[in-house]
Assembly symmetry: C3
Homo-oligomer: 153 residues x 3
């Protein structure tokens, strides 16, 4: 494993990346085209189950979104060999498993966004995003994050 | 501010662009990569609250989607200096805050699509899109629109 | 019509592509930019109505997602003249009309993913994807699929 700038930052943050998790069916964890790396939707490890606004608080959702971010970083590591090849976090979409009265999906997704800023810094980590409350998600996961990165090939 | 072709069209349409609204958290209003400008999800100004099929009619939703479009134009203006640098509206995703019985999210998103066609004309304004009814949205907004534009850099 | 490799595979699979269906409003079926073809959200032909976890089983949803895939192939055929110009299925997003207790949107979307693998093979067909349960969809369709392809221009 390369010991690059970003790997050192992960150590400082106390983050140990797991192996990239397997896709939930026969599809790819990622596709790279035109220097853009599209990562498949990832949820938190350990498969927690439940909805925001019902089973989990916004703060718990924030932590789940951060954990989803770690799963995405693991995919990037497996795809690129080193996270130093990430040039920019481009676009993030957050799907929050939420009951109809839940108004804070953006505060949940902040767990993912803040992790990206901590790991990649403001220049590379600052990204466009959108978020919505979903009626349901696979395996009743609390949050799934879909993301696009600009990378060196 | 440049007084270009599109700015003149806005005047004819009676549209005065506001300042670009701040993101709802620490993320970017937009990211440009490979000539594609990714705009973060934007809702209507004034933060109306409520769901389609419950609190708002489809026609009200249409107007909210149009207002979200004006917020997106304001981001483009801030990003590019002039809307003349927009080469194409590429892709639009509409998230409509909807109760489960609401079957017209596409008619809501038409408010956004029609605005793009009015402002950019059929050649540049015609775009791919998709739309869904969300269980909930941030701050109980009625609609949020996620969009991608091809631009001159 | 070109009789290419992929057209022959469609014949072997017993798939006859229909004409590309009309968009549900004034927007484009597709946009091509930078060699990426963005297809507008497509549902199954025949406009079935209902929700997963309520009106339809997961297996029925799988078939609907497969049918949505055929509609997408029809758009590609109309856009490119021949499906041989598809270089890669890049990214798929599935929106499944689902009640809050439905936990298998990914198994529904497999109907789309499996079709792409059958038609384009593992090299070109393997794609990134994400999926969510929507509160509602246009015309109460059971599933809508949004997709991006890399193509020869």
């Amino acid at each position: 494993m390369s010991e690059g700038v970003i790997e050192n930052r992960l150590k400082q943050l106390g983050i140990v990346l797991p192996e990239a998790s397997e896709p939930a069916a026969k599809y790819a964890n990622f596709v790279i085209v035109n220097g853009l790396l599209f990562v498949s939707g990832k949820g938190p490890a350990g498969k927690p189950k439940g909805k925001l606004g019902k089973d989990f608080t916004t703060e718990e959702g924030y932590q789940f979104a951060r954990q989803a971010g770690i799963e995405v970083l693991a995919v990037l590591q497996s795809a690129l060999g080193t996270l130093d090849k990430v040039r920019r976090v481009v676009k993030v979409q957050g799907f929050v498993n939420a009951n109809p009265a839940f108004e804070e999906p953006h505060k949940v997704l902040n767990g993912f966004s803040d992790l990206m800023l901590e790991v990649f810094g403001d220049d590379k980590g600052f990204h466009a995003r959108s978020v919505l409350g979903a009626s349901s998600l696979r395996d009743n996961l609390p949050v799934v994050v879909d993301s696009i990165f600009q990378v060196e090939e």
